[in-house]
C-alpha cells in the first residue's frame, strides 16, 4: 500500500494569525467604547471609515501584487492597523484626512515593503506621523469631552461634519487642547505646573479626566492580552516603567517645570502605545532582552519628546525611531543557547566545530 509523504512535525497547534488579530481587536473594545462614550459618534466614524478604506486598499494592493486576496484579508491585520490609527485621530475628522492616513499606513508602510510580516515600520504609526506633520491643526483638534450621555452632536450632525467640512462649526468653540498639550503650552509660557493644573477646570481633578478613563480601559484590554499570551509582558512593562521612572525623577527634581508621573501615564497615548502599538510583533524587537531594551527606549523617547520636543505626544515618533533600531537590537541580544556559556554571537571559527 502506498502512503502520502510529508515532513515532520505532523502536529499543529490551534493558534492562527487571524485568531491573534481578533483577540487584539477584542482587547481594543473597552478603550474604544470609553472614547465613544466621551467623544461621541466621531470616534466610531473614524474607525468605520478607516476600516473601509484599509480593507479596500489592502484588497487592491493584494490584487496588484497577485496575492490571494481573501486569504490575506482574512488575517484581519489591515483592520487592526486601521482601528489603531483611527483611535489616534481626533473625532469628527474630515474623511479625506482619514483616507490619507490609511493610505500611507496600508500602501506605503505595509505593501510597498512586502505586506504582512515585512514592514519594518509600524503602519498605523507611519499613517499618524504623516498626518500630524501634514495637518498639524486638524490633528490636534480634540472636541471637548462630553458629560456622559449628553452628546454635543447627534449621529446625523456628526456624519455631516465628517463628510463635508463646510458643516463644521467654529473648531475653537467645540474643541480644546489635550491635557499634555495644555501643560506643554503652559510650561512654555513660563507658568508653573501646579498653576496650570489649578487654572484648568479640566485638569484640576485628575480623576475626572476623561483621558484617564480611556487610558484605564486600554490598560484593561492590554492586561487581557497579556493574560491570553497574545503579547509579551516585556515591551509594555519596560516602556511604562521607563516613562514612569523618568517622569517621577524629573518631577521630583523640579515639580514646577515637569509634569507628574500620573499625567504622563494616564493623560496621553501611553497605555494605548504600550500595549497595542509598541507590541506590534512585526516591527518590534523579538528577543527577550531586545524587547526590554526596545520598550524602555520607546518610553525614554516618549518622555524626551513630550518634555523637550515640539509635539505634545510622542508615541508615534518614539515607536518609529525604535523600529529602525530593531534589526541591530535583535542581532546583539540573542539569548544564551542551551549548552553555551555565554549569549555572545558565535565567532566565525565555530562554524567547523560540529565536525
Amino acid at each position: 500500500m502506498q502512503f502520502k509523504t510529508d515532513t515532520s512535525p505532523f502536529f499543529f497547534s490551534t493558534s492562527n494569525v487571524n485568531t491573534l488579530m481578533l483577540q487584539v481587536l477584542l482587547a481594543l473594545m473597552p478603550g474604544t467604547l470609553v472614547m465613544m462614550y466621551f467623544f461621541g459618534w466621531g470616534v466610531l466614524f473614524n474607525i468605520v471609515l478607516a476600516i473601509v478604506f484599509a480593507v479596500t486598499l489592502e484588497a487592491i494592493a493584494l490584487y496588484l501584487r497577485k496575492r490571494p486576496v481573501i486569504t490575506f484579508l482574512g488575517d484581519f491585520s489591515a483592520i487592526v492597523t486601521a482601528w489603531l490609527l483611527a483611535l489616534t485621530l481626533p473625532p469628527l475628522m474630515p474623511w479625506w484626512i482619514v483616507f490619507i492616513g490609511v493610505f500611507f499606513a496600508i500602501i506605503i508602510a505595509k505593501h510597498l515593503y512586502g505586506g504582512l510580516g515585512y514592514n519594518p515600520f509600524n503602519p498605523a504609526m507611519v499613517g499618524f506621523a504623516v498626518l500630524i506633520i501634514s495637518f498639524p491643526f486638524e490633528m490636534t483638534q480634540w472636541i471637548q469631552p462630553q458629560s456622559p450621555g449628553h452628546q454635543l452632536y447627534g449621529f446625523i450632525d456628526s456624519l455631516k461634519m465628517v463628510l463635508n467640512a463646510a458643516n463644521t462649526p467654529d473648531w475653537d468653540a467645540i474643541t480644546m487642547a489635550t491635557p499634555l498639550d495644555e501643560v506643554k503650552t503652559g510650561l512654555r509660557s513660563g507658568q508653573h505646573y501646579e498653576q496650570i493644573i489649578k487654572q484648568s477646570p479640566y485638569l484640576q481633578n485628575e480623576l475626572q479626566n476623561t483621558w484617564l478613563y480611556s487610558s484605564l480601559a486600554f490598560l484593561l484590554g492590554g492586561l487581557w492580552l497579556l493574560y491570553k499570551k497574545v503579547i509579551d509582558w516585556r515591551i509594555p512593562v519596560a516602556l511604562l516603567t521607563t516613562l514612569a521612572g523618568m517622569s517621577f525623577m524629573f518631577h521630583l527634581y523640579d515639580s514646577d517645570q515637569y509634569g507628574s508621573t500620573l499625567l504622563h501615564l494616564f493623560s496621553g497615548a501611553a497605555m494605548l502605545g504600550a500595549f497595542f502599538i509598541a507590541t506590534d510583533p512585526v516591527s518590534a524587537s523579538t528577543t527577550p532582552l531586545g524587547k526590554l531594551f526596545y520598550g524602555a527606549s520607546i518610553g525614554f523617547f516618549i518622555y524626551v519628546i513630550r518634555t523637550w520636543g515640539n509635539y505634545p505626544d510622542a508615541v508615534a515618533f518614539s515607536v518609529l525611531i525604535m523600529n529602525m533600531a530593531v534589526p541591530m537590537i535583535d542581532y546583539y541580544t540573542q539569548p544564551r543557547v542551551l549548552g553555551y556559556k555565554s549569549a555572545l554571537v558565535p565567532k566565525k571559527e565555530s562554524r567547523n566545530t560540529k565536525q
Binding site: 500500500m1 502506498q2 502512503f3 502520502k4 509523504t5 510529508d6 515532513t7 515532520s8 512535525p9 505532523f10 502536529f11 499543529f12 497547534s13 490551534t14 493558534s15 492562527n16 494569525v17 485568531t19 491573534l20 490571494p68 486569504t71 490575506f72 488575517d75 491585520s77 505586506g115 504582512l116 510580516g117 515585512y118 509579551d232 510583533p281 512585526v282 518590534a284 523579538t286 528577543t287 527577550p288 535583535d330 542581532y331 540573542q334 539569548p335 544564551r336 543557547v337 542551551l338 549548552g339 553555551y340 556559556k341 554571537v345 558565535p346 566565525k348 562554524r351 567547523n352 566545530t353 560540529k354 565536525q355
Partner: protein
C-alpha cells in the same frame, strides 16, 4: 523529593497514549519474509557474511560490524534461507534504498546450537562477571540505542568506561505523542529492566541511577518504583509531561540541572544516558544470551483497527505489523515511523522495520491536525515575528530570526544564530500561528551549509594541490640549475687543471692526479648536498600534505 529543573520552552500536544496501552505487548509473529537492513545503526553499515541460499539460524550473525569503525553486528531475526542480498527501500526520510539481507523464513524460529549461530552463553551472575566479558557481549549482540539515535551501545559504553560517570540516566520519558513502547516495556518487564540497569551499574560504577519517566505514565512509574524498591542506587523520578523532555540533553537538564556543553558528549560531563529499551536489550544479551533480533514497536493511529504494542522481529514489513493490529481502517492515509513530532513519513508499507522503529503510526492526514479542525483550510501565512516559536524552543534559539535569514539565503547569519544547535524537535512548527514549516527550513539550511562546507573543503584541497605543484616545479627547476652549476664548475676546474698541467708540463704527475681527485671529491660533495637539500624539502612538503589528509579524514568522521 529530587529537585526537578525547568527547561526552556516545550509544548503540550495531544499525547494519544491510551489508544495503544489498553492491550498488553503482543507477539507480532514471523512474517514470510524478513528484510534486514545493513543500515540499522549510526555509523558504517554492517558487512554481510552470508550468501544467498545459505540457511541461517535465529540469532546467527549475518552481517558484521566494520572493524575499527562505529558499526554494529546484525543477526538473523528468525531462521530461514537467505533469499537475496540486494538494495531495498529503507525506512529513511528520503525513502532511500540500501543493502538488505532478505530471509525467507521457515517458521521454525530455530536458534542455532552453537555460540556462532545462535544464543550465546547466559551470564546470570553478571555482578561477578569480568567487565570485559560483558563489554564483549554488548558488542557481539549488536545492541544500539533504541531511543531512536541507534548509536552502537558498545561504543558508547566504552566511552563511558573511560570517563568517571557520576549519574546514569535511564530515559523512560517517552515524550512523543502516540508512542508507548517504553511505557509498556516498563509496565510488563520491570524486573528485567532493573537487571539491565545493574549490568550497566557494574560496568561504569555511577554514583546514582535515575529513571526519568513523564508523569503521564503513572502505571510505569508505579511498577518501576516497586521493582527498584530493594535495589540500592536506583531512583525512579517522575518528571513533568512536556515535549521534548525525552531528548537526552533535555532530560539531563531536568534531572540534574546540568547542561551538556554544545558539541560534547554527555559522558564527558560524567553522565551516561540509555533508553529503557536499550537497557532491556543489555539484560537480554547478558542474562539470556540473546542478540537483538526483535524490539517492542508501537503500532497505532486511527489507521489500524486495534492499536497495540508488539514484540516485532527486526525486518518485519510495516504491512505485517498493521495486519497484526487488525488491519487498516479507511483512515490509513499516512505511515509515519516514529512519532508525529519527529518521525518521518514512509511511502510504502513493504518497507521493513529496523532497530530504530519505536513506532509505526498509521493515520489519516486530517486527524493529525485534529487539535485544529480548521487546519486544512489554513494556508501558510507570512511570519509576523510573534516569537511564539522562540518561547517554545527547548534549546533557546531564535527560530524566527533563523527563518528570516534562511529565506534571505543568508546562511552565515543563520549560523550566527546557532542553527547547528537546532535539534529539529518541531516545537516551533507546532506553535507557529502562521503554519510555517520552520523545521523544513532548518533542515534545508543545514544541508545547504554542509554542501557549502564540502565545496569549500574541495576548493581548499584543489588550491593546496595547485600550490604544491607550483612549488614542485620551482624546486625541480632549482635542482636542475644547481646540478648544472655544479657540473659546470667541475668542468671548469677540470679545464683549469688541465691547463695548469699543460703549463707545468709532465713534471708533477702525481700532483695532477691529486688535484683531479680533490676536484672529483668536491664535486661529489656538492652533488650529495644538493640531493640532501632536495630530500629535506621533499620531506617537509610531504609532511605538509599528509597532515592535510589526516585533518580532512578526521573532519569526515
Amino acid at each position: 523529593m529530587r529537585k526537578i529543573w525547568p527547561i526552556h520552552g516545550g509544548v503540550h500536544p495531544p499525547f494519544h497514549k491510551t489508544e495503544s496501552t489498553s492491550r498488553s505487548i503482543g507477539d507480532a509473529g514471523i512474517p514470510p519474509q524478513l528484510i534486514v537492513s545493513m543500515h540499522q545503526h549510526a555509523g558504517a553499515p554492517a558487512e554481510p557474511i552470508v550468501h544467498p541460499g545459505d540457511y541461517v539460524y535465529k540469532g546467527q550473525i549475518i552481517a558484521q560490524a566494520l572493524k575499527n569503525r562505529i558499526s554494529a553486528n546484525i543477526h538473523a531475526p528468525s531462521s530461514g534461507i537467505v533469499a537475496a542480498i540486494e538494495e531495498r527501500t529503507l525506512p529513511h526520510p528520503s525513502n532511500l534504498a540500501g543493502e538488505c539481507i532478505v530471509i525467507d523464513t521457515d517458521h521454525k524460529d530455530e536458534w542455532g546450537k552453537t555460540a556462532e549461530t545462535g544464543k550465546l552463553e547466559a551470564i546470570p551472575d553478571y555482578k561477578n562477571a569480568e567487565p570485559d566479558l560483558l563489554m564483549e557481549r554488548i558488542q557481539q549482540t549488536g545492541i544500539v540505542g533504541l531511543g531512536g539515535a541507534v548509536f552502537p551501545t558498545a561504543v558508547k559504553m566504552a566511552g563511558a568506561r573511560q570517563n568517571p560517570i557520576k549519574t546514569f540516566i535511564i530515559n523512560g520519558a517517552e515524550c512523543e505523542p502516540y508512542i508507548t513502547c517504553d511505557d509498556m516495556l516498563m509496565r510488563e518487564r520491570s524486573a528485567e529492566i532493573v537487571k539491565g540497569i545493574q549490568i550497566v551499574q557494574h560496568l561504569v560504577k555511577p554514583d546514582e541511577c535515575l529513571i526519568g519517566i513523564e508523569d503521564n505514565k503513572p502505571e510505569a512509574i508505579k511498577t518501576m518504583s516497586e521493582a527498584c524498591k530493594n535495589v540500592p542506587g536506583i531512583e525512579v523520578v517522575a518528571i513533568p509531561t512536556i515535549y521534548p523532555s525525552g531528548d537526552i540533553k533535555q532530560l539531563i537538564k531536568i534531572l540534574t540541572g546540568i547542561e551538556i556543553p554544545a558539541g560534547t558528549r554527555s559522558v564527558n560531563s560524567g553522565i551516561l544516558g540509555q533508553n529503557i529499551g536499550t537497557v532491556y536489550s543489555i539484560y537480554q544479551a547478558v542474562v539470556e544470551g540473546k542478540p537483538v533480533v526483535s524490539r517492542i514497536t508501537t503500532v497505532t493511529g486511527n489507521g489500524v483497527q486495534h492499536p497495540r504494542n508488539f514484540e516485532a522481529l527486526i525486518g518485519s514489513p510495516f504491512a505485517w505489523l498493521a495486519e497484526q493490529a487488525g488491519g487498516y481502517t479507511k483512515m490509513a492515509e499516512r505511515l509515519i515511523m516514529g512519532g508525529p513530532m519527529m518521525g518521518f513519513a514512509l511511502k510504502d508499507d513493504a518497507i521493513p522495520i529496523v532497530k530504530a522503529t519505536n513506532c509505526a503510526l498509521f493515520i489519516s492526514s486530517t486527524s493529525l491536525h485534529e487539535s485544529n479542525s480548521s487546519y486544512s483550510d489554513q494556508p501558510t501565512m507570512p511570519c509576523i515575528r510573534c516569537s511564539k516559536c522562540m518561547d517554545a524552543c527547548p534549546v533557546n534559539l531564535l527560530p524566527q530570526q533563523m527563518y528570516w535569514h534562511i529565506r534571505a539565503k543568508d546562511m552565515e547569519k543563520a549560523q550566527a544564530h546557532h542553527l547547528k544547535d537546532c535539534i529539529e524537535c518541531g516545537c516551533c512548527s507546532y506553535v507557529c500561528p502562521s503554519h510555517i514549516p520552520l523545521v523544513d527550513y532548518y533542515r534545508f539550511a543545514k544541508a545547504e551549509i554542509r554542501d557549502q562546507q564540502e565545496a569549500q573543503k574541495k576548493a581548499d584541497l584543489a588550491r593546496e594541490r595547485h600550490e604544491f605543484l607550483l612549488y614542485r616545479k620551482e624546486r625541480e627547476k632549482r635542482e636542475r640549475e644547481a646540478k648544472r652549476a655544479a657540473h659546470k664548475a667541475a668542468l671548469q676546474k677540470k679545464k683549469e687543471a688541465a691547463a695548469r698541467a699543460k703549463a707545468q708540463g709532465q713534471t708533477t704527475n702525481t700532483d695532477k692526479s691529486d688535484d683531479d681527485k680533490a676536484d672529483a671529491i668536491k664535486a661529489a660533495v656538492a652533488r650529495a648536498q644538493a640531493k640532501k637539500l632536495a630530500r629535506q624539502q621533499q620531506n617537509s612538503a610531504d609532511k605538509h600534505s599528509t597532515s592535510d589528509q589526516t585533518s580532512t579524514e578526521t573532519a569526515k568522521e
